[in-house]
């Protein structure tokens, strides 16, 4: 699966990683719906770290679209409220 962190770049993740990322996505949605900014920032940061740690940075000369595009790493809950409601970035 190819994940892009907006303004940062694309990462290639193993299919197994999708579940863990989805779990983080769900937690981000829960925090956002509860209006818990602190919790949200923490989970959102975990998402970024997870992708950077487990993903393989994609070579610049590969021309492929991403399966998931995550918001820029410095986004606040307010910035991305619309993204993290309902199904979140990754639909079930």
């Amino acid at each position: 699966m190819i994940v892009r962190i907006a303004t940062e770049g694309q990462y290639e993740l193993l299919e197994n990683d999708v579940e863990a990322l989805n779990e983080l996505d769900n937690r981000a949605v829960a925090a956002c719906e509860a209006g818990d900014e602190e919790q949200f920032s923490q989970v959102f940061q975990e998402m970024m770290d997870f992708v950077r740690r487990n993903g393989q940075q994609m070579a610049d000369d590969r021309l492929e679209g991403s399966d998931v595009i995550l918001p820029p790493p410095d986004s606040t809950m307010e910035d991305v409220r619309d993204d993290f409601t309902g199904e979140g970035l990754i639909p079930e």
């Binding site: 907006a6 610049d60 679209g65 998931v68 820029p72 993204d83 970035l89």
Partner: protein, 273 residues
């Protein structure tokens, strides 16, 4: 797919399909798409130049405020040495404001530096992708039938298109930031033009509107502490540690040094005898 990923890929796909629809034969589509990519790359270069210009402007402003800080400090010392504590305090209040401004400028310059580096990275990445697209374009034109070429063009265009959208987003954010900073830099410039950080010796004892505003802006405890420190360095002040000044406390003679006061009293004693 909902959310940003949804919105972004919808926008990208709409743009790409519009682009692909425009031309009838795949070769033309490829050329058009390539032209668009080159255009965006030029825009990114312009965006970087903009960020660099804003950064330079802030650096010039920083240097000018740094000089004001030195000047105000000197003026405070001179005022204190001349026994004009109110004037010294005003100078220190302005210095305090200028220093706060310096600190915030420092942060902004660092921020712009980061933006600049990020955009330069993005530019490099996009350049590589465009180069890749260019060579793929030649292969597609040479080797594939029209129908197959459409599919491959669509794939390649999505890859570059997404990168273009992403660079576009990064650039927009950088430009928004520089816009905010420009507004602030202008406000500080106006403050400077209004003489806020200017020569205090022209200032009478009267307190004007700017002073009252500055007092609110500057932290009075910091100003007090600095004033005391300055007094101690000059050997003057209302609360000398050893209490040698005695009656001089708070009065006009507080501006003079204890050493001056003692010889001054001797001749008068001598003439009385």
């Amino acid at each position: 797919m909902p959310g940003l990923s949804g919105r972004m890929s919808v926008v990208i796909k709409a743009k790409i399909s519009k682009l692909l629809d425009r031309a009838e034969d795949p070769g033309e589509t490829l050329e058009y798409s390539y032209q668009k990519q080159i255009e965006l790359l030029q825009n990114v270069k312009k965006g970087i130049a903009d960020v660099v210009t804003s950064k330079k402007r802030l650096q010039i402003q920083e240097e000018s405020i740094r000089q004001q800080v030195v000047k105000l400090d000197t003026q405070a010392r001179q005022a204190l040495a001349a026994g004009q504590e109110d004037l010294a305090r005003t100078a220190l209040e302005r210095k305090n404001v200028a220093q706060n401004e310096l600190q915030s400028l420092d942060g902004q310059i660092a921020d712009l530096q980061k933006q600049q580096e990020q955009l330069t990275d993005s530019e490099q990445k996009l350049k590589t992708k465009i180069e890749q697209f260019r060579s793929k374009k030649e292969v597609i034109k040479a080797q594939y039938s029209a129908a197959e070429a459409q599919v491959r063009i669509s794939e390649a265009a999505t890859g570059v298109g997404e990168e273009m959208a992403d660079v576009g987003l990064a650039m927009q954010r950088a430009l928004d930031k520089t816009e905010n900073m420009k507004a602030r830099a202008q406000a500080v410039g106006e403050l400077e033009a209004a003489g806020t950080f200017d020569d205090l010796t022209q200032l009478g004892s009267g307190e004007d509107d700017i002073d009252r505003q500055l007092k609110q802006l500057s932290s009075s405890t910091e100003v007090d502490a600095e004033l005391e420190k300055m007094k101690a360095e000059l050997g003057t002040g209302s609360s000398p540690p050893a209490g040698e000044l005695g009656a001089g406390a708070g009065g006009d003679s507080g501006a003079r040094q204890a050493g001056d006061a003692a010889p001054a009293s001797e001749p008068s004693q001598g003439s009385a005898q």
